[in-house]
């Protein structure tokens, strides 16, 4: 049963991806994003990603410490 559901999930995901990337034709991107703006986006996106990942690990660390405390109690 679980395998059937899993298979259905994959079929659904495949259909969604097909719809998004194959059926939907790209609209005309009528704005010029600008080369300089693209570079800046890349840098900010990198910083933002590092920030989010660092945050996740920081929270995990805090959680781990809290768990350790609880275990000690």
């Amino acid at each position: 049963m679980k395998r059937i559901l899993c298979r259905r999930g994959f079929i659904g995901l495949g259909a969604a991806l097909f719809f998004v990337f194959v059926v939907i034709q790209p609209a005309y991107a009528y704005l010029d994003p600008g080369s300089g703006s693209l570079i800046v986006q890349g840098i900010i996106a990198g910083i933002a990603t590092i920030g989010v990942v660092a945050k996740i690990y920081w929270h995990r660390l805090l959680k781990l410490l809290n768990l350790n405390k609880k275990d000690e109690e």
């Binding site: 005309y28 009528y30 704005l31 080369s35 570079i39 986006q41 990603t49």
Partner: protein
């Protein structure tokens, strides 16, 4: 064959909607429609079926529309016609106060964040896509959405920075009047100019440093004709979804932190009219209400509306009212109050009546001039005529002709030379205004209007007139 736009099916294409090939706006029998072209068909279906449209409309962030039958403006490429809910008055970012522009910026970013959750994103982030509708900012361009593809950058990032972040930063950190640069640059304030004008302290603000200063440097380095040679730079084009959302969140935090206080004081205490006794002020309010009730106008413009005390008499009667003032502080106070009290019928805007907003953009009609957005049923010009005549040397003849072209009814206050405000205006200059008196005022205005009611404001030397335009 190219058909004449004005002759087809009683239609007229909007002069503001031609850049995006996805569709355009046109008017038929005075009603606004939007034509969706074949190339946008799949995107529109996804936008509607994904639930994004419903969520944005439910939250009052997007103008609702209905799909209608009927002929397209142009059959070539036409796929569907929609009728968006009408916005009562179109205004532009160079007429907005600081908080209006900030609210419009936050709306754009919030829509972008919601759109990402639904697998879509904004393909443009123009300040002209936002209008104030029933007291709050709302996105009016239904065709601004496209499916999000992971790895792709936000194509409208530069536009957002130029249309929103640059003017907001300049207004907040340098001078609130710098939003008028948007009049000179309809595609948004150039970032190199913004970076140069901003104080050095803004280099220490992470958001402004990245999105404006470094952005400007990067634009200069990779300007047109300088291809990105570096392989690392090419790789920087791939942006993960996490990074993409991070950019929008970072912009949101940066905009959110920008503040401006009108007159450097608490807005609630800033603008007090000290020229009237309390009793005369109340009498004037009562007369204005009485005159409005006499004519029941469908729309009102209050020119020189200050913080909107008299505009609210009109808007509280359910009349869509635009309250103009030249002072950005007064407009800011007016807007904050309207927002706080959730006033649906009042729109405060910045306007210099002696130099009203011109037509701008392509062919000088992509953005309407102030005059082109008229006429209205009624104009209120209270405590204004002495500023026009004495401060700006505008003769009665010119003032009367100006109002004649803009309204059916005119509620105007005459302020005599003996009034303390006029005495103050004349204190530092030679009185060359021998004809500035009530008799001349009435004589000149009577050439354009029929005076249908005259009310003296008790406990003051001022007089209120209700006039009706000749020939109607």
């Amino acid at each position: 064959m190219i058909r004449n736009a004005n002759e087809i099916k009683n239609c007229k294409i909007s002069t503001a909607s031609f850049r995006d090939p996805s569709g355009f706006v046109f008017y038929r029998d005075g009603i606004l429609y939007r034509q969706i072209n074949d190339c946008y068909c799949d995107q529109y279906k996804f936008f509607m079926d994904s639930g994004l449209y419903g969520v944005l409309v439910d939250q009052g962030m997007l103008i609702p529309h209905e799909e209608v039958d009927g002929p397209a403006y142009d059959d070539r490429g036409a796929w569907r016609i929609i009728r968006p809910e009408a916005v009562s008055f179109v205004s532009y970012p160079y007429e907005w106060c600081f908080s209006q522009l900030k609210d419009a910026a936050l709306l754009t970013l919030d829509i972008q964040l919601i759109a990402i959750e639904y697998g879509m994103c904004l393909k443009d982030a123009s300040a002209y896509n936002v209008q104030f509708h029933r007291g709050r900012p709302v996105m009016i361009d239904t065709l601004s959405f496209e499916t999000y593809t992971e790895g792709e950058p936000w194509v409208a990032y530069r536009q957002f920075c130029q249309h929103f972040l640059a003017p907001l930063a300049l207004m907040s950190k340098k001078d609130v009047r710098l939003n008028k640069l948007l009049l000179a640059y309809v595609e948004g304030i150039p970032l190199d100019l913004t970076s140069m004008l901003l104080p050095r302290t803004t280099w220490c603000k992470a958001g402004l440093f990245m999105h404006l200063h470094i952005h400007a440097k990067s634009q200069k380095k990779y300007s047109a004709g300088m291809p990105i040679k570096n392989e690392k730079a090419k790789k920087a084009r791939y942006i993960s979804k996490l990074g993409y959302t991070g950019i929008v969140q970072s912009l949101r935090n940066t905009v959110k932190k920008l503040e401006w206080q009108p007159g450097g004081t608490e807005w609630g205490e800033y603008y007090k009219d000290t020229n009237y006794s309390e009793s005369a002020f109340e009498k004037k309010q009562a007369i204005v209400r009485q005159l409005l009730e006499q004519i029941h106008p469908g729309t009102v413009w209050d020119v020189g509306g200050n913080t909107g005390v008299f505009s609210r008499i009109s808007s509280d009667m359910g009349i869509p009212t635009v309250s103009y003032d030249i002072d950005p502080s007064a407009v800011e106070i007016n807007y904050r109050k309207a927002r706080q009290q959730q006033e649906n019928y009042l729109l405060p805007l910045c306007l210099d009546l002696t130099n009203p907003t011109p037509g701008l953009g392509w062919n000088s009609d992509e953005r309407d001039s102030f005059l082109h957005r008229g006429p209205v049923d009624c104009i209120m010009a209270l405590a204004l005529i002495h500023h026009l005549s004495i401060s700006n040397n505008v003769p009665f003849e010119k003032s009367a002709a100006f109002f004649y072209n803009l309204c059916q009814y005119l509620i105007i206050e005459f302020v005599p030379k003996t009034d303390s405000q006029v005495r103050r205006l004349l204190a530092s200059r030679v009185d060359i205004f021998q004809d500035y008196d009530r008799f001349t005022f009435e004589t000149v205005f009577s050439r354009f209007f029929t005076i249908i009611n005259v009310k003296a404001i008790q406990h003051s030397e001022r007089t209120l007139y209700l006039m009706q335009k000749h020939g109607k």
